[in-house]
């Protein structure tokens, strides 16, 4: 491995790496736009200029391979001056409409200009006008003026998604990003172009204008969208969760994630959630506290003989939750009838070649492991017959967190509801559940953003994640629900406050007449 000096700091870098990678490894800041570790080298922004000892001209760090004994720096006056001017060149035709721009706050141009820029631009000519708010497809909007033509998005559609929708048209400062003959940018990875856009030229229609990024906090998590289990960042604030972005994880998802995974934040928010326990049957619902609901469900379970209980699992819960649930049902209640509810079994092995898998559960593998380690066999057979034959009096379902990936949900709810008692743990409210005939308990549970735990992805890789924020404070994790069902106590005091939903000027509504 060659040893090189970066700003005087000696480091050892892997063979064939480039100078910019050496800078990143050394933790030295270097200005750049077009270089992206997940894409090919374009070398067009000309900002990662470095001085290599022994070379007369400045070199771009992204296309210079390291050599043994090389000494590079980006702190000399020449480099600094060049980067200053390089940034000024970028701003010549940039509209500087930061107030309207959604990227403001996480913008490469803003950040790097603040760090490396000259602060005293000499440009006083009229700017080139291009079209704004161009609809590129179902997910992305383009602002041609803001674009600095780093070509990251073009390279992404060329190299990663291999869909080739985007291209650069025209020459010189009239160059602009566009799609060929109006063919929309429509693929399952389109929003990655928004992530890698260093400026606000490409914006997500879903997130556009909904929040300013500086109001958002981020938490690391694992995408529950499919069995790939991409590492993600969840962006939230006191009003709820706003978006999901990929987190670099070379072993699973690299730098990318799919658009389907980005939608997983939607069902987490207050609007679609079940906010309290519900006990009763059709038209006779009673909203009760979560504790009451879960305790009475537990009572019912303990009353029923173990052979008359059927436990139905979906692959949407964490390994830890499975462990506690299995422990309770298998070892305490001695229930033998456990079932694995696999949605769209015919698509389970589908794969789009990049990230997205047909198994839309984050933890199918984890559930299978749990079955194996508790010596149970999860299958789907006998369930229908058992319910119809009145063998199963009480059915407890660990319902899907993301209901949209269970296409047969309504049908199955109807089937389950033929049992005398149905206990349903669900994160989201569900209309079909409200209309079942039998005695039913609906117990709100936490979503992936609200709990800590681990998912086992399709490779068998166990990935831990931490709780981000709390949307519904009443919701329980399965482990907590099981504790309560078993008649034990949990510490309610440690539960965090939930978010308030859309921000209101709260005092106004409460003031009344003065």
């Amino acid at each position: 491995m060659p040893k090189i000096k970066v700003n005087g700091q000696e480091i050892e870098v892997p063979e064939k790496s480039t100078v910019i990678q050496a800078f990143k490894q050394a933790g030295v800041d270097i200005c750049h736009y077009c270089w992206h570790p997940g894409l090919s080298i374009a070398g067009v922004c000309r900002l990662c200029m470095v001085q290599v000892e022994g070379m007369p001209k400045l070199q771009i760090a992204c296309n210079t391979e390291v050599k043994e004994g090389m000494s590079v720096n980006n702190t000399s006056d020449v480099v600094k001056e060049t980067v200053k001017w390089g940034l000024d060149f970028h701003l010549i035709n940039h509209p500087l409409d930061c107030p309207i721009c959604d990227q403001a706050g996480e913008c490469g141009l803003q950040d790097q200009y603040m760090q490396f820029g000259s602060y005293d631009p000499e440009m006083a000519e009229p700017k080139v006008k291009k079209s704004k708010a161009v609809d590129l497809g179902p997910t992305v909007m383009l602002d041609k003026e803001r674009c600095i033509l780093c070509s990251r998005c073009v390279r992404f559609t060329d190299e990663v998604s291999k869909t080739n929708e985007l291209g650069i048209f025209n020459r010189g400062d009239r160059s602009e990003i566009g799609t060929v003959q109006g063919k929309p940018l429509d693929n399952n990875y389109s929003l990655n172009t928004v992530d890698i856009c260093p400026v606000g030229a490409l914006t997500s229609k879903d997130f556009r204008f909904r929040q300013r990024v500086w109001y958002l906090k981020e938490a690391d998590s694992i995408c529950p969208g499919c069995s790939t289990g991409c590492s993600v960042k969840v962006h939230y604030n006191e009003e709820g969760v706003w978006r999901v972005k990929p987190r670099v994880n070379p072993e699973v998802n690299g730098h990318w994630m799919c658009d389907v995974g980005r939608n997983t934040y939607k069902y987490v928010n207050l609007k679609s959630r079940l906010l309290s326990g519900k006990v009763g049957k059709r038209d006779l619902w009673q909203e009760v506290s979560v504790e009451d609901a879960v305790r009475s469900a537990g009572l019912k379970l303990r009353e029923t003989s173990p052979d008359a209980i059927a436990v139905v699992y979906t692959g949407q819960y964490t390994n830890e939750e499975y462990a506690s649930a299995f422990k309770f049902f298998k070892e305490e209640l001695k229930v033998k009838n456990v079932f694995h509810w696999l949605n769209n079994p015919e698509k389970v092995n589908e794969f789009d070649g990049l990230l997205f898998r047909g198994d839309r559960n984050p933890n199918t593998k984890g559930l299978e492991n749990a079955f194996a380690s508790f010596g149970a066999k999860g299958s789907w057979d006998n369930l229908q017959a058992g319910i119809n034959g009145r063998k199963f009096k009480t059915v407890i379902v660990f319902g899907p967190e993301d209901q949209s990936v269970f296409p047969d949900l309504d049908e199955k709810i109807k089937m389950f509801s033929q049992a005398e008692n149905l206990i349903w743990l669900t994160a989201c409210a569900n209309k079909s559940l409200d209309s079942v005939g039998g005695e039913t308990w609906q117990i709100p549970v936490k979503t992936y953003i609200e709990k800590a735990g681990s998912f086992t992805n399709f490779q068998g890789k166990v990935q831990d994640f931490k709780a981000g924020t709390t949307i519904v404070p009443q919701a329980l994790s399965v482990s907590e629900a099981v504790e309560l069902m078993a008649g034990r106590e949990i510490n309610w005091n440690l539960r965090p406050r939930g978010v308030g939903g859309p921000k209101t000027n709260y005092a106004v509504s409460d003031r009344g007449e003065l």
């Binding site: 309207i100 009344g512 003065l514």
Partner: protein
């Protein structure tokens, strides 16, 4: 640090102090009756004080030349607001040159501390602190000002036009 002074023995007899105070008031009253022009107070509400033009009173949202709202919903005012009394909901405008505009802009003036940070934060002269200061109301909800109130209340006579015009800026090539 406060200084506690022991009252003198004479002062513990309150009557002389009261009488001295009444005498002073009486003299002033006579003086004011004889010479009302020198009176330092106003007969509010018949008479009102004229504040300087830079007085930070109730907020005004400025408008463009065509009368539409100038605000671009950048939320810098809401970010700068120390009382967190500004609530903006942004939306996509039909006109791509406008792009973003507020469909709702609310200021809770009862929380507002009239610091003027919003005015300073605004990059497009969309919000100003106006000269009005009489904000009485009978109901709490009267103090949540919406766009209608902030930009088009009758006192503004159709709206205050912002100094920053997008059309002009576009023509100047900015």
């Amino acid at each position: 640090m406060s200084l506690v002074r022991k009252p003198s023995a004479a002062a513990s007899w309150y009557l002389p102090g009261i009488l001295a105070g009444m005498w002073f008031t009486f003299v002033k009253m006579i003086g004011n009756i004889l010479n009302p022009k020198k009176m330092p107070t106003l007969n509010y509400p018949e008479e009102k004080y004229e504040y300087g033009p830079r007085f930070k009173g109730n907020h005004v949202l400025t408008v463009k030349k065509d009368g539409s709202i100038r605000c671009t919903a950048c939320m810098l005012c809401a970010t700068a607001c120390p009382a967190q009394c500004i609530k903006i909901t942004a939306a996509e405008h039909d006109d791509p040159t406008v792009e973003k505009f507020p469909i709702s802009y609310e200021i809770d003036v009862l929380r507002c501390v009239y610091c003027g940070f919003c005015e300073e934060a605004c990059p497009v002269d969309a919000i100003r602190m106006g000269p009005e200061w009489q904000t009485a109301g009978l109901n709490g909800s009267k103090f949540a000002y919406d766009i209608q109130q902030l930009a088009y209340r009758p006192q503004l006579k159709g709206g205050v036009v912002s100094v920053l015009d997008d059309q002009e800026r576009h023509q100047a090539g900015i």
